[in-house]
């Protein structure tokens, strides 16, 4: 469903991605791990073109989306993204945060958008908060709203950029539960995370990135349990 070929990204002289080749199948959950600065987030942000790759291609459902003629908005609406810092719209209520995209991008009627939003809020376990503003919610609740906001677009894939890194420890579980449920429902996902236990549990495949390349990849048992590469081992010995 998503494929990258020779993906590279530089910020000035800083060569963050040095050639990434990945193919992600429908319903696959790919977990990306690696030290900070390894390029995990940049890789994820290149997939929905929040970052413009310096070289290489990104294919989404067979279409080369790095082609300058492609309408990036049409690509992005099919790929939901969840951010480390939630990035909810602070001047809108929870329900308006969720209905904005479907109404303005997909042209869904306000009634239908609200109905979908309520169903999603129920699904992420905060149905009673629809009239609240983001600042009235805890971090975990805000992130669950952000997930609902992304899902409201009915995307074909979801990208999670360290979705639990900005949360207090007691709130990480409630957010991981939601992501886990999505995985069980067969959502295609790319998850950048520092939660190794979670990576092992939900990942169909784990990518270990370091210094802009994929050092090692395979099943969670393989990469996390019996890592072959010394850099993977060194990283895991620090975080496990």
């Amino acid at each position: 469903m998503i494929r990258t070929v020779g993906l590279e990204k530089s910020f000035g002289s800083n060569h963050v991605l040095r050639g990434i080749d990945v193919a992600i199948k429908p319903h696959e959950v790919v977990v990306v791990i690696g030290p900070s600065g390894s390029g995990k987030s940049t890789f994820l942000r290149c997939l929905n073109l929040l970052e413009k790759p310096t070289a290489g291609q990104v294919f989404f459902r067979g279409q080369c989306v790095t082609d300058p003629h492609v309408n990036v908005n049409e690509v992005r609406r099919e790929m939901g993204m969840v951010f480390q810092r939630f990035n909810l719209f602070p001047h809108m209520s929870v329900i308006d945060n969720i209905t904005l995209g479907p109404m303005k991008v997909r042209g869904v009627s306000p009634e239908d958008a609200r109905q979908t939003a309520r169903d999603l809020l129920k699904k992420v376990g905060i149905a009673e908060k629809e009239k609240d503003y983001p600042s009235q919610l805890s971090g975990g609740q805000q992130q669950r709203v952000a997930i609902a906001r992304a899902l409201a677009m009915k995307p074909m894939a979801m990208l999670f950029d360290e979705a639990t890194s900005a949360l207090d420890p007691e709130m990480i579980g409630e957010v991981l539960d939601v992501i886990r449920r999505l995985a069980e429902e067969g959502m295609t996902m790319v998850v950048v995370t520092h939660e190794m236990g979670f990576a092992r549990e939900v990942g169909d495949r784990v990518l270990f990135m370091d210094e802009g390349v994929i050092v090692e990849q395979g099943t969670p048992e393989h990469v996390l349990g019996r890592p072959q590469n010394p850099r993977t081992r060194a990283f895991l010995s620090k975080v496990l």
Binding site: F89, L100, G101, K104, V105, R149
Partner: protein, 219 residues
């Protein structure tokens, strides 16, 4: 020579006429400035390079030169180019409006840039276009931060409008000068003129800090 406050009641009506002109000038100038400044401020953060360069030359020129010189350019300079005189009132609001536009452009730019980058990213990642993201996400948040400095810009315009007295437009200061030729009491008259300016600017700065408090609660 002793102060003579008994003249004050007699001069107040004339000064109030000038005050009305002063307020009118500032309101029209800031209104024009708001239109120019909104477009210029948006262009300053936009992707169009030509628009960025043009607006930054405009802002630098206006902020780097005295309003009085800009006024003279319009009132004395422009007629030699277009071959006919520019009425004082038109010259005044044109110079002040263009001047205000540059300061408001910077206020608008700062307001837009004060909104967290993640807001634009979240909006774009939903598939909203750049202009939809600006309209629904960035502007509403920027507006809250723009209103207080806009009040300060209005205060500055109110005070700077006294400069147009030199082109014989009868605003508050000019009215004071006219009154002095009748009463020969410059100290008393200028004192009253100063107090009228003070009353207006104090009232507006109160309004600004009240709006600052209100807008913060919503955030």
């Amino acid at each position: 020579m002793a102060l003579d406050f008994s003249i004050i009641p007699g001069i107040i009506p004339a000064l109030l006429v000038g005050t009305r002109m002063t307020i009118g000038l500032a309101v029209i100038a800031v209104a024009i400035g708001l239109v120019i400044g909104s477009f210029a401020g948006i262009a300053r953060v936009g992707a169009n390079r030509a628009a960025r360069v043009i607006t930054s030359v405009y802002v630098d020129f206006i902020r780097g030169t005295p309003l009085l010189v800009q006024l003279f350019l319009v009132y004395f300079g422009l007629p030699t180019l277009i071959g006919r005189p520019v009425p004082p009132f038109i010259a005044a609001i044109a110079a002040m409006g263009i001047n205000s536009g540059a300061y408001i452009a910077e206020i608008v730019r700062a307001g837009i840039q004060s909104v967290d980058r993640g807001q634009m990213e979240a909006a774009r990642s939903l598939g909203l276009t750049y202009s939809q993201s600006m309209r629904y996400i960035i502007f509403p948040q920027a507006l809250r931060r723009i209103i207080p400095p806009l009040g300060n810009e209005f205060i500055a315009m109110l005070k700077d409008s006294s400069l147009v007295s030199v082109i014989a437009l009868e605003e508050l200061l000019r009215k004071g000068q006219v009154v002095i030729t009748r009463t020969f009491r410059p100290f008393e008259v200028y004192m009253v003129v100063a107090l009228i300016y003070l009353a207006m600017t104090l009232a507006i700065s109160r309004l600004v800090s009240w709006s600052e408090r209100r807008l913060r609660v919503v955030d």
